[in-house]
């Protein structure tokens, strides 16, 4: 944006008025200057004319005074006084000073005898007491700012003898004033600067100080100029003021309505703006009102567009940040929130944070069993429960699948545990069975990762810690809520370590590193090996990686099917290598993913050549059974028909639903080690006994896992288990090319 002048309309108008005023003032000054120059020229001309006029008037005055003096010299009484000067003083006092006998042109008079001597000495007379008869001339004497004119004339009748002299004194200025003959000179400002008496009239003229009186033409011109200035002032100022008034009143008000309208639009909306526009009084400008209306309409449309845009933005944000299925925020929102939280942490002191991570136990099995729609509803229900459980303002994020996270702000371990317990409680109390028809209990595994005050743990690390804790909580005998601590790393740290990843993917993709260990399953009655359970190990460097490290990663990466296939391939190799003794068999652990795989029959078909001499057992877990139960049942049924023995693994560690046993195509039921190890407890033993009776009654063969000592063996035998498996009867070991095993010899 250019940095131009930005002022209010009112200020622009005021500047306009001031500008016009200044321009007018400048033009007036210029005009006055030109007029002054012209006036000066005229004044010079007038001065010259005045000088001429002064000379003329002076000449006339002097002529008049001389004429007066001449007439006075014939005044009879002067001759009377000259003839008889006895009464001169009296005469002077009464006729000159006290009377009106003296011509008004003169101020004083003195009569001299023929010898030039005054007839009498008059004290206050300003005429000389004696005349220099050799030099009788007109004399000009200073008299303040006036000039006294002294005229002397002889008293002489006709050609007679000179009887005396008369001297008169006149005021030059008074006589000039008396004549009133000036047209150019201001007589009232007439003055003389004569310094000493003189006979020279030119010197007197030079001593004249005067000012020009305004001539009629000049006065008329001044009046004309004044009138012109006034008219011009009116012509400029009135329109300017009118225009300013017009601009301020009409345009200004109208223009100011626009920002007012904008303000109203911004604060009170278009309807209020339109009401005010319609109700506004004063002068209105239709064009500007059109602009206002257009603004209002535009604002309305803009508001509508903005609303739509906001809606779209919200939708977009929701799409970008919110999970469509559950309404919870997604992983992107989690990342953004975490960033925001980090910046907030820098500005506000937060005591501590806790990251709560949870997922739904066996969700995949639920999803597979009840279908995706039910799975989706389970997730929605879970979110609903979690929302109720978490504190207000704590946001819930769905990080993926059935995995949810919540960042607990200003929360310690105890409070976090309380929140987690509420979550667990809410989910446990949700009527999944009534609403969704899910018979199995839906439970959460919750991991909590603490963030120490002041630490800046990256989100990834925090998530991993919460993940470790959550997976730890999934382990048997662990609670459903686990707070991360470093000790968990030793047990779970490899789950997601790069080395395990590398090892697993090398097995799956390159079929390298997989080493099968076989643990014998013996018949109780004779101790012979019925078959071996194939347990996978991955050779990674100089160590073996065991399933407890492999399976969580495989499950989290959903690699079960691929890993199963690698195991199948390796077993086939072992079969072909003659490593599996004839008369025995191999139990293969198959994941749910493989069981429901439509190609499972084809994948296991390569074992059929060995089925004549070997027992092939497919071990599946309860979870596997409930995952797409029909499909799984169908596949297992077909496999059973093909000669495979189906074993239900880890019975007693999960749902342990007896109803499944009646409906599922299971041949063997492998009691979980937790059940077997607890046989020393009478109540537990009695439970196992009843279970065993039931299993036997439905035609299933029982296998006791985890038989590690003779005491347990005696219990197992007493209870009537048909097969046993455990360290007492052989640890999992690799098999080499084996000679025929003798009965009763453990591997």
């Amino acid at each position: 944006m250019s940095a131009g002048l930005r002022l209010s309309f009112r200020r622009y108008t005021l500047f306009f008025v001031a500008g016009v005023g200044l321009l007018y003032l400048a033009l007036s000054i210029l005009g006055h200057h030109f007029y002054g120059m012209a006036k000066q020229d005229i004044e010079h001309t007038e001065q010259a004319a005045a000088r001429l006029e002064l000379q003329t008037v002076f000449g006339r005055v002097m002529d008049d005074l001389r004429a007066g003096a001449g007439q006075l010299s014939q005044w009879d009484e002067l001759y009377q006084q000259v003839d008889n000067p006895v009464y001169f003083a009296y005469w002077y006092a009464h006729r000159i000073r006290g009377g009106k006998a003296l011509d008004s042109r003169f101020k004083d008079l003195m009569v001299y005898g023929a010898d030039g001597k005054a007839l009498a000495e008059i004290k206050d007379s300003r005429l000389p007491p004696r005349l220099d008869l050799a030099d009788i001339q007109d004399l000009y004497v200073p008299d303040g700012d006036d000039v006294g004119v002294l005229l002397f004339r002889p008293l002489q009748r006709g050609l007679g003898k000179r009887q005396g002299y008369v001297g008169v004194r006149a005021s030059l200025r008074a006589n000039i004033l008396r004549l009133q003959s000036f047209n150019r000179i201001d007589v009232h400002r007439l003055g003389f600067m004569l310094r000493q008496p003189t006979h020279d009239p030119q010197q007197v003229l030079r001593a004249v100080r005067y000012q020009l009186q305004p001539t009629p033409a000049q006065a008329a011109m001044d009046r004309l100029v004044l009138h012109l200035i006034l008219l011009l002032s009116l012509a400029v100022l009135l329109p300017t003021l009118f225009l300013s008034f017009f601009l301020l009143r009409l345009v200004g008000q109208a223009v100011m309505r626009i920002p007012r309208t904008v303000n109203i639009l911004r604060t009170r909306g278009p309807d209020a703006a339109r009401d005010i526009l319609e109700d506004s009084g004063g002068w209105r400008v239709s064009e500007l009102e059109s602009v206002q209306r257009a603004l209002i309409d535009y604002h309305r449309e803009l508001s509508s567009a903005n609303a739509t845009l906001d809606e779209k933005n919200r939708e977009l944000w929701n799409l970008a940040h919110r999970d469509v299925l559950t309404g919870a925020q997604n992983r992107r929102a989690f990342d953004n929130f975490w960033q925001t939280l980090q910046s907030l942490k820098q500005r506000q002191r937060m005591r501590s944070l806790r990251l709560m991570l949870c997922d739904v136990n066996h969700f995949k099995a639920i999803n597979d069993t009840y279908g995706h729609d039910v799975g989706d509803q389970v997730l929605q229900a879970i979110v609903e429960c979690l929302h109720r459980a978490v504190r207000r303002d704590e946001q819930l994020f769905r990080l993926g699948g059935d995995e949810f996270a919540c960042i607990l702000i200003d929360c310690d371990d105890q409070q976090a545990m309380a929140v987690a317990s509420r979550c667990e409680h809410e989910v446990a109390n949700f009527p999944f069975a009534e609403k969704l028809g899910i018979r199995e209990p839906v439970r959460l595994s919750i991991g909590i990762s603490p963030v120490a005050e002041g630490s800046e743990t990256p989100a990834q690390i925090l998530l991993r810690q919460a993940d470790v804790a959550m997976y730890h909580s999934k382990r048997p005998a662990s609670g459903s809520v686990c707070i991360y601590r470093e000790s968990l790393e030793s047990r779970s740290g490899t789950i997601f370590s790069n080395s395990i990843n590398e090892a697993v993917y090398r097995v799956i993709e390159q079929h390298e590193g997989l080493a099968m260990h076989y643990q014998p399953v013996r018949r109780v009655d004779d101790g012979t090996i019925a078959y071996y359970e194939a347990l996978m190990r991955i050779r990674h460097g100089d160590r073996l990686v065991y399933p407890d490290e492999i399976l969580p990663l495989v499950e989290s990466r959903h690699l079960e099917r691929e890993l199963d296939q690698a195991v199948i391939d390796q077993l086939l190799k072992d079969f072909y290598a003659g490593m599996i003794p004839v008369g025995t068999g191999v139990a293969i652990n198959l994941s749910a993913a493989s069981i429901i795989d439509e190609n499972i029959l084809a994948r296991l078909d390569p074992f059929r050549p060995f089925m004549s001499e070997h027992k092939l057992v497919l071990e599946v877990t309860e979870t596997t059974l409930i995952t797409q139960m029909e499909l799984a049942s169908g596949h297992l049924m077909q496999l059973r028909n093909q000669g495979f023995t189906i074993a239900l693994d880890d019975f007693g560690s999960g749902y342990s639903s007896l109803s499944y046993l009646t409906s599922m195509p299971v041949d063997l039921v492998k009691f979980d080690i937790t059940l077997v190890k607890a046989l020393h407890d009478e109540a537990h033993r009695r439970l196992v006994e009843h279970l065993l009776e039931f299993i036997t009654s439905v035609g299933r063969v029982s296998v006791a896992e985890g038989v590690e000592d003779e005491a347990i063996m005696r219990q197992v035998r007493t209870l009537g288990f048909e097969y046993v498996q455990g360290f007492l009867h052989g640890r999992p070991t690799p098999l080499g090319p084996i000679p025929r095993l003798g009965n009763g010899n453990a591997a």
């Binding site: 009484e77 001759y79 009377q80 008889n84 006895v86 009296y90 005469w91 006729r95 009748r157 007679g160």
Partner: protein, 280 residues
């Protein structure tokens, strides 16, 4: 206008100018040492004689009543002498204001009149007529009284008055000290006691007596509207046997239309060789 008429007018004008220069002359007399008095002398043929017309109090011969009458008589072929009394001023030209210093006396005026009568008599070789206006008659009566053998054949006194003295504001003393007097129409009249009394002492009784005993005809002409002449005075003159002619409607100065009445009356009196009718 034809050329002949223009030529006639030109010649007539020239003749008139020459005649004026020839017959109208200003003459002067040194009436006293250093004091000259002047007069206008309108000379005519010897047939009708000469007339001396004397002006009134403080006036000059240029006073209209006097000058007009003089010209009228001159037109009637009288030689006319109109002097201006000097009143103590050399070649006095203007009337003397009341406020001026008045050192002149009646006897000086009479003396000047006598000199002019003599001057005129010498040129006319015969008796003359004296005409006086206002206070001029006062001087003439004094002259008649003091000069019983004067060459005067007739006296006509127009608006005959006399300076009436009143109580002075400040009385002068003797011949030198000035006093503020009232005399005639002058309410303030600076003069000496001697000069003052020279005028006021020539009383109406003396005037009347002089007129009654004059050896020549004395005619008095009075305007009926003259406010300055007291009726008692007129009555006294009439009762004293003085021929008094009343001009109806005339004032003291016989101006306006009465100017011609005066001229005609004076002419008729002068033309009348014998006595005039009194009580006109």
């Amino acid at each position: 206008m034809c050329t002949g008429l223009k030529r006639w007018i030109g010649w007539t004008g020239l003749l008139c100018l020459l005649a004026g220069q020839v017959f109208a002359d200003t003459v002067s007399l040194e009436v006293r040492p250093g004091i000259r008095a002047s007069a206008v002398y309108l000379k005519a043929g010897p047939a009708k004689g000469a007339v001396l017309i004397l002006h009134g109090f403080l006036q000059t011969r240029e006073f209209p009543t006097v000058s007009n009458l003089g010209e009228s008589l001159h037109d009637a072929d009288y030689s006319v002498l109109m002097p201006t009394l000097s009143l103590g001023i050399d070649l006095r030209r203007r009337s003397l204001p009341c406020e001026a210093i008045h050192l002149h006396r009646l006897d000086q005026d009479v003396d000047e009149l006598a000199q002019w009568v003599d001057w005129l008599a010498r040129r006319q070789h015969g008796p003359i007529v004296l005409v006086g206006h206002s206070a001029g008659g006062h001087v003439i009566t004094r002259y008649l009284a003091t000069h019983p053998g004067a060459p005067v054949k007739r006296v006509v006194l127009v608006s005959l008055g006399y300076p009436v003295g009143r109580v002075p504001h400040r009385k002068g003393g003797g011949t030198r000290t000035l006093g503020d007097y009232s005399l005639g129409f002058c309410l303030r009249y600076p003069t000496t006691s001697v000069a003052y009394h020279s005028y006021v002492d020539w009383s109406t009784d003396k005037m009347l007596d002089t007129m009654q005993h004059a050896r020549m005809p004395v005619d008095v002409i009075i305007g009926s509207s003259d406010k300055r002449i007291r009726p008692e005075w007129v009555d006294r003159m009439r009762k004293g046997g003085v021929k008094v002619h009343i001009v109806k409607g005339a004032n003291h100065f016989f101006d306006s239309a009465q100017e011609f009445d005066l001229d005609d009356l004076v002419e008729s009196l002068l033309d009348d060789a014998g006595d005039g009718e009194a009580g006109t």
